[in-house]
């Protein structure tokens, strides 16, 4: 039976959906639940990774160190994973949390910019951590381009390459084509990270697995940016039906969802109109709440902001452009700003 490694992103991507306001105690309790359900790897921290707490992305309730300390204490078996986006977080930030049992670092860049992660992959490897080359917004370029950047990450020493549909804009064929191209280009395992903005997260993950993906991300109840990620407990059930081994106990993960996650979710993780606009336009999933706030402040339609951001080919991390676009749209409508 083929084994699929599942990485839970509820406690990192889910932070986008709660404006990074989980407490360390909540994060520790949720991580303990995930660990007991048999998760292989649990990613935690601010939605934008180490150093993400900021005016640009929103301040998190606690510091990276406070979250990692809580999770480090709570998790017994699973690998603790953190995201590091060069340009936002640094090797210094990584050093500051290593003592809490971090095992995996996902070094994350825009799909065309893998070379900004060379230092960080090198540092992680030198310090005995699993280093992952994580390519964001892979819908924006051809499968060949994704493969080229994946090879760069492999050359820096990445242990596996993750293809992310950060905008939730891919159709199943888009996911499969990119995974196939990367599989053909590198000799390390390949992963896939989905968003459900077009309602296709589970389908895209399946397409990725059929195309050869070895690792996939999911989050409990889909808790994540935009319309969220591939819903973890659903994914576990579907993969069981298809005969894949995940190591996760279906009933336990369902119980974790109902008992631990449902009470803290700020809203049901559905494909809202704004999330749909993100997927349709190919904008970054974590823009959702930022665009809604800017729409209210400047009196414009949040969907117009998101569609315009997609049209301008805005990349992950450009939350400040949301304000800029909202101001431009308000001016075009003849409103005083």
């Amino acid at each position: 039976m083929r084994k699929i490694r599942i990485i839970d992103t509820s406690l990192r991507d889910g932070m986008h959906a709660i404006s990074h306001q989980l407490t360390p105690a909540q994060m520790g309790a949720l991580a303990a639940g995930l660990d007991s359900a048999g998760l292989d790897t649990i990613e935690v921290g601010h939605g934008d990774g180490l150093g993400g707490s900021s005016m640009q992305y929103g301040f998190s309730r606690a510091s990276d160190r406070e979250y990692l300390a809580a999770v480090g204490k709570a998790v017994k078996k699973a690998k603790i994973d953190i995201l590091l986006i060069p340009g936002i977080g640094t090797i210094e930030d990584l050093k500051s949390v290593m003592e809490f049992g971090v095992k995996t670092v996902r070094v994350t860049t825009h799909v065309t910019e893998a070379d900004v992660g060379e230092q960080h992959i090198g540092f992680a490897k030198k310090n005995g951590l699993e280093a992952v080359g994580f390519l964001m917004m892979c819908h924006m370029v051809s499968p060949e381009k994704v493969a080229e950047q994946a090879k760069l990450f492999e050359s820096f020493g990445a242990d596996y390459i993750n293809v992310a549909d950060s905008a939730g804009a891919m159709l199943p064929k888009d996911a499969a084509d990119r995974i196939r191209a990367v599989k053909a280009a590198v000799s390390v395992p390949v992963g896939f990270h989905a968003h459900n903005n077009l309602g296709l997260a589970i389908g895209n993950v399946l397409a990725a697995i059929e195309a050869g993906a070895d690792v996939v991300d999911g989050s409990v109840r889909g808790f994540g940016g935009g319309a969220g990620n591939a819903q973890l407990e659903v994914l576990v059930a579907v993969l069981k039906r298809l005969g894949y081994e995940t190591g996760i106990d279906l009933y336990k993960i369902m119980d974790v969802a109902a008992e631990l996650f449902d009470p803290i979710l700020p809203r049901p993780q559905v494909v809202s109109n704004d999330a749909l606009a993100i997927g349709y336009a190919g904008a970054y999933s974590s823009f959702l709440l930022h665009a809604q706030r800017a729409a209210e402040k400047f009196g414009v339609d949040s969907r117009d902001i998101l569609i315009e951001l997609g049209r301008r080919k805005v990349v992950g991390g450009q939350e400040d452009l949301i304000i800029d676009v909202a101001i431009d749209l308000a001016k075009a409508k003849g409103r005083a700003v």
Partner: protein, 293 residues
């Protein structure tokens, strides 16, 4: 009276080439050498085509040529840590365009004269620092800035291998510059690369936590300092003038380059190379006075 400085540029990458083209127009500079280490370097070819001597010996090429008044180092943070003591031992004034930050920080619109009489090495922080520190300074001279955060977004095409390998140093040095020169009590810097075609202009967002009731005085002060930056970077403009948003002030700037080497979208090159030339021209005046004494 100012003297003409015998000038060498170290590091023929995007920044070094753009800088060289600006120095060739500066009456206070005579560019006598472009030094690199890669025989295939585009910058060495361009230098040769302008009749400038080139060297493949890097910093050693400069030291063995001798009789150099000023060196501009546009390599990278790690190489500059090697170059700085060698240039200092040779008694050559050095303008450091890497985020190595060996010498004191200089932002021409804020503190151009502070170190020119004393330091043998001055550091220009980063392109993001040159673009955003004047704004934070403009606000902190009106009212204390508890926290400043900047986001610099530059086109992928204008970020060469040096910038990419130094991305941690970029954020750390910019952050310290925002505190030391900008006057913020605490700071954070973020850089984002955007590969869109046609390439985007360099844009920067500056968030400052401060007393927003002083917004009118803040706007006036920021407009004044932006005008001072425009003296050496004509394409520097307020995209969104400072506005109060709760307990913070948000300002956005855009920088159109002069198009000397890379096209005008590369305002991030101009802002630091133009600052470098401004420092050199001012240094020439200092040196000229010294000569007259």
């Amino acid at each position: 009276m100012s003297k003409t400085l015998r000038t060498a540029v170290l590091g023929p990458g995007n920044i070094g080439i753009d800088l060289m083209l600006k120095l060739l127009r500066s009456p206070q500079h005579e560019v006598v050498l472009m030094a690199g280490i890669d025989p295939e370097s585009e910058g060495l070819k361009i230098a040769a085509s302008k009749g400038i001597a080139t060297s493949l010996e890097g910093v050693q090429g400069i030291l063995s040529l001798g009789n150099i008044d000023i060196v501009y180092d546009a390599t990278g943070a790690k190489p500059h840590l090697i170059h700085a003591p060698l240039l200092k031992a040779a008694g050559i004034f050095t303008v450091d365009l890497t985020p190595a930050a060996v010498g004191p920080y200089v932002v021409p619109s804020v503190n151009i004269d502070e170190h020119l009489g004393t330091a043998m090495n001055v550091n220009l922080i980063t392109c993001g620092g040159q673009a955003t520190i004047p704004i934070v300074y403009g606000i902190s001279r009106v009212t204390p800035v508890e926290y400043a955060e900047i986001v610099a977004t530059i086109s992928s095409r204008s970020a060469g291998p040096g910038t990419r390998k130094n991305i941690d140093e970029f954020t750390q040095t910019t952050r310290r510059g925002l505190e030391v020169i900008g006057g913020a009590k605490k700071a954070k810097a973020i850089i984002v690369l955007n590969p869109a075609e046609p390439p985007i202009l360099m844009r920067n967002t500056i968030y400052t936590k401060c007393d927003t009731s002083k917004i009118d005085a803040i706007v006036k002060s920021v407009e004044d300092i932006a005008a001072a930056v425009r003296q050496y970077v004509p394409g520097y403009r307020l995209k969104v003038a400072p506005y109060a948003d709760g307990d913070r002030v948000v300002t956005m700037i855009e920088v159109t380059g002069a198009g000397d080497y890379l096209p005008t979208y590369s305002g991030n090159l101009d802002i630091i190379t133009a600052a470098a030339v401004a420092v050199g021209e001012r240094y020439a005046q200092f040196t000229g006075k010294a000569v007259m004494k």
